[in-house]
């Protein structure tokens, strides 16, 4: 297991969120969507310009800007 900021995760990589460091409105929006410690996530892909990123969490698809994904730390499975 290794801890990675979500931005550095590759396509199809999955893991479990270990911390969400965003505060204020961004933190709130991230949590509203179920991105809380303990949630499983899987990177689904990136937009044509490599940003935003789309991922799967709690069985639905969510997109975030890379700058927002920076605040999310994920315990990823070793490759």
């Amino acid at each position: 297991m290794a801890k990675l900021p979500m931005r550095q995760m590759k396509k199809n990589q999955s893991g479990v969120i270990s911390a969400v460091k965003a505060t204020g409105e961004l933190g709130r929006r991230i949590r509203d969507m179920g991105l809380v410690p303990g949630s499983e996530v899987k990177i689904q892909g990136h937009a044509p310009l490599y940003d935003p990123v789309s991922l799967r969490v709690l069985g639905f698809t969510l997109t975030l800007r890379n700058s927002e994904a920076d605040f999310i730390v994920v315990d990823v499975d070793d490759e």
Binding site: R28, G34, K42, P48, S54, G59, F60, T61, T63, E68
Partner: protein, 739 residues
Amino acid sequence: MNKIDATIALAGNPNSGKTTLFNTLTGARQHVGNYPGVTVEKKEGIYQVNGRKLRIVDLPGTYSLTAYSLEEVVARDFLVQEKPEVVIDIVDAANLERNLYLTLQFMELGAPVCLALNMIDVAESRGVSINTDRLSASLGVPVVTTVARSGKGKEALIAMAESVIDGKQKIRPLTISYGKDIDPALAEMDGMVASAQFLTDRYPAHWVALKYMEGDEQVRKLGYAQDAKVSDRLDQVVAKVAQHIEDTLDSYPEAVIADQRYGYIKALLKNNVVVHRKDPNRLFVSDKIDKVLTNRLAGPLIMLAVIFGLYRFTFTYSTAPVGWLETFFGWLGGVVDQGLPDGLLKSMIVSGVIDGVGGVLGFVPLILFMFLGISFLEDSGYMARMAYMLDRVFRFFGLHGSSVMAFIVSGGIAGGCAVPGVMATRTLKSRKERLATILTAPFMNCGAKVPIFMLLVAAFFAHHEAEVMFIITLIAWAGALLAAKFLRSTVIRGESTPFVMELPPYRLPTFKGLAIHTWERTWQYIRKAGTVILGISIILWALMTFPGLPAAQRQSFDQARKAILTAASPADREAVQAGSNGSLSDTARAVRSRLVYIDHQEAEKSLQNSVAGRIGSALEVVSRWAGFDWRTNIALVGGFAAKEVVVSTLGTAYSLGNVDPDASNTLSATLAAAPGWRPLTAMSLIIFTIFYAPCFVTIVMIVRETGSWKWGAFSMAFNTLIAFTLSVIVFQVGSLLGY
């Protein structure tokens, strides 16, 4: 019989099928308005059952109940202030975990919640089975399953709501544990709130304590206003807990509370409530479609094709009805023209009311088809993908991926219309980005600006038409994006709103949903045409009509006409006066064209003498810097009514009578030969036309969508200033360079 027996609020996440359920329940019997003071839409309808009249209110779709977005505040205030007898929480059954996060917050607020597990068919096909009895027992709220698209479960849902109204279903308020740090502090705060009766006339005591713990701005503000002492004491308790949480967990109370809510939901669902027979994160049909539609290479190409298709669809199908409306208003104008005696009343009805309102209503088919297409893209889920693919580009300019639709509809591909463009920003949930989009979308080249460009291009850049038109389109885009960047770093400064956005599964839109959606927006437009726009049309007509020519000048024109008639042979005179069109002799035709020439001269002088003409002449001092004389100025003033008017007003100002924009060859020849006109003047006017004040219909829409006249006025001043600055630069630099 008109009495409302109970109010049912429909609440839930976006994309949970809430609006579809609302449409299924109320059909066409719905009323769309705004919540007081904000631009959030309020939809209401009536449902009758067992002799009862139920008022159904569709609350805005939200993921949470914080106080940080208008939608959430509106939903929360509605529940607290209007105390609906039932809150039906529509939950996407395939997405239970996230949807229940909102449910918990309704229950914390003590709202009489019952659950509709919607799209249960999709959930089942995805291998999710939900034990509704267990779910209902562990949450302590009634639960039914529905399929909103087909109306399945509708009766059971209403029966459930009725039993809550009748008090047969007892709903116990929910208290959950927020962990060992927060619980004791909350208990202490509960006591303080209850004993001081602090805000308890509006909210449950426990909820007030909880919101203080979360640092909710709206509640804290209300609390401070009611009793600053209690408010401060609550804040002190919170500060202590917050410090402790920061020291031990490197977190803060609001985050801990959210984590605990999710923890509660996870525990609840584990207890055999939900069984996943398949991996919930495996790829569904929708994800497979996404592999193609958002592919890095194919995605953008398909998007271009979709946008192009939207255009083709809109303009192909709206051309005929637009023509019918034009014919109708032309006919109506003709009837009035025949039926009324010459004079001001006739002039006002024909030129003010019929041309003004008719011109606006002429757009109705365009708006109808445009929104049918947009609603399809929105309801199918494709719009969210467009925002996803384009966000990187638009973000650079302080906009949002979803801004693209407004830009394109407004004329990002020349020929749109800013009115539906401004209305299309409603998909955008981020306030600042939305405002910047509304203010810059009118820079795009709408269908009414195109004839002006055509005229000027034909007169001065013949043989390079396609290139110049392409450059004009690029200038509009560059200008709009840069202006957005400028606005976002000055007037609408501020951090960009978080993008965090759901990509809902692709769904085939329902016919009913599309029809209601399209009609709503079209009707809003029509209603405006009948009120504000009618008034402004008349004002603009008056500006271009009054005070008319002085008597002496009018007489001299009359004398000139008389002189022509006297000089003509009696036969010709008779033929011309009879007004017969068919078989005029050559000499008679010459007489008539001399008369028409006088009429046009009189129209030109009369226009020059009107208030608008005087404004035009007065502006010449300034406008000369950009190369515009009074004639161009009047045309541009008239263009404020509708850009279509520019060409015809130029025609009048050049004594050519009313020029049909589609057949402006004579006018372009006149301009090409007119003194003071050269290619540089045309370029300067093109630049001015792209950027200056939007037409007043667009202004009215901007006011509507931003909820304030301030932004309408800002847009007029700001755009005209940009337009003038740019065209002066073009004209002056061009002149220096010897063009």
